[in-house]
């Protein structure tokens, strides 16, 4: 099994290095690793955020462990050369359409959330975000209005096949959890959402054991503050999923702790912490590597059939936290590698 390591920019290399140490410590037979440059790092070396070598490694690999992309030095480049294009390109080229973002409070970090403790403690949800469509990948550009005004435009769309496959992902995920699925859209305004809702309702007939509800996105943003414990699985489009999954992550209070998986139809996946490249603390050994370590665990579970190894990592992270290990984002002073050591010690 080949794992592609794409550390990327900012704190990416530091946190991926710790995850690699943890993977090495598990000594799982048959795993091989190759790394490649991506994001700003790809641009600076090869003139492109997703160099052909990197894309071809990603294609060959059975799974991808991704750090983060984003580099302020690239802010003025044209859109197609910016670091973000690397992650968008990988999602699209590899048909990674199903983004799973669990948000659950770590009991050891109960005071990290700005939500009242009893509200935060009740959070145990999974956001299933569609990643290959929506206004992200439609035709877009600058044009002139009839009056000669500059206008920016982006076409939002979903077709029935795109909605159907993410709906199936979400219903299956709900079935494996508490059996509640909330589909979030803006069907009172958007035709894209109307199709989304129609297809989700159609797919629901195949999952009569799952309780389906619908919520407008503005209400969902409110409910995630008012009573996030009401949610089990939320399924939504690319744009709303971007917003709501970041909001939900912050509700559990520890963005440095949260992992994500982006899967294709065959279980191949890209695994990344949901935090970004954090250029302000890059290279200082301050970053929290746990989100990446937990992403490696998700990778073992979902793409490599190593559920037991995944369990071991997750337990070790819990133990490290329980023993008081805290990086700066968690209110402590531990360095990135010291946190890696703490997890290794707990393994």
């Amino acid at each position: 099994m080949l794992i592609a390591l794409l550390p990327g920019d900012g704190i990416g290399p530091e946190v991926v290095a710790e995850a690699k140490r943890v993977l090495d410590a598990l000594a799982i037979p048959g795993l091989a690793y190759e790394d490649a440059l991506v994001g700003g790092a790809g641009y600076h070396e090869y003139g492109h955020p997703l160099p052909p070598e990197t894309l071809s490694l990603a294609r060959r690999a059975d799974a991808i462990l991704f750090g983060a992309v984003g580099d302020p030095r690239c802010d003025t480049l044209e859109r197609s050369l910016r670091p973000e294009q690397a992650i968008l390109g990988l999602r699209k080229e590899l048909n990674l359409f199903s983004n799973l973002r669990p948000a659950k409070m770590f009991p050891e970090l109960a005071d990290a959330s700005t939500l009242r403790r009893e509200v935060a403690e009740a959070i145990d949800l999974l956001i299933v975000r569609e990643l290959n469509g929506d206004v992200y990948f439609g035709e877009k550009g600058m044009r002139r209005t009839e009056d000669g005004l500059r206008e920016g435009y982006d076409i939002m769309s979903y077709n029935e096949a795109e909605v159907r496959r993410i709906a199936h992902s979400a219903f299956r995920a709900a079935r494996a959890r508490r059996g509640l699925l909330c589909s979030v859209d803006k069907a009172n305004v958007l035709e894209t959402s109307q199709l989304w809702r129609d297809i989700v309702i159609e797919v629901a007939t195949e999952y009569t054991d799952v309780a389906l509800s619908h919520m407008y996105v503005d209400n969902a943003a409110m409910q995630l503050v008012r009573n996030p414990g009401q949610f089990d699985v939320i399924v939504t489009g690319n744009l709303f999923g971007d917003i709501l999954s970041d909001q939900a992550s912050m509700c559990v209070g520890s963005i440095g702790m949260l992992a994500s998986a982006s899967l294709d139809a065959n279980g191949k996946g890209l695994y990344e912490p949901i935090h970004g490249s954090a250029p302000d603390i890059a290279g200082q050994g301050k970053a929290n590597p746990l989100a990446t370590i937990l992403s490696a665990a998700m990778m073992l579970r979902f793409s490599l059939g190593q559920a037991e190894a995944a369990d071991r990592i997750e337990a070790a992270v819990g133990k490290a936290l329980a023993s008081g290990a805290r990086t700066a984002d968690l209110g402590g002073t531990m360095s990135t590698s010291a946190m890696g050591d703490a997890v290794l010690a707990a393994l």
Copy 2:
């Protein structure tokens, strides 16, 4: 001065009636009132959510006090006949492009928020949401892909004139407050956002006393949970504004308390509580009328030049809360009209 009263659906008529009693008690000379049906109520009586009589009253009026629209019995109607089209139609037909949604904690309700007290107490922000453009009003529909699949689509766009006028609104609002403006977009993905950002930066040169920053919408949704006290004025497009303003409202914990104004270029405005029609409690005298009473205060201040009367209403609401008046949403048992009485008594 003519005020159009458009109570609409659900709890709309109940809460608008209380606001009218408060306005009457102020006995401001020269105010006249006319009412008309809108939303589901308009549809059931005239076959359209925004009947011509209602639109023409809204045009003639100097200001509009609006209740809420939304009626589950209309859920299966075609989009153009649904209640929501009434509010979208009024915003567009009357060029009400600037939506002001203040969110500030009422000290009397400090425990209503699910955010920790010290986090919620620091909230004092204003969201300036563009209301006439974006994916709300672009071309939209159902079509077939090349492969014959059903596809829903909606075109998102902003032109430079649309962005410029809302940017000026927002910079002026920031100048009158703490001088901080945060523009929220998704410029790393959307061309619409790129134009938005370019124009906001251009307009900023006329407001060198205002500190401008930019934030991606996913990060903004996180920051509103992590540290909402960092914001003074947020300016954003129609869709992101819909989501973030509802999220921010819930952060202050009392959605039944929050007012909003939607203004045209000449100060004419539509005033509405940000809560919806709440069909589940309609007609039971349980609704909290304070958001509508405070919307009437905003109307006096922004459209009718009656700042002093507005101050009196706001002070009376504070006094009523301080005296312990609480409707069900605030954890009390008071009826809608009893809350109206409490405000009248405090006036």
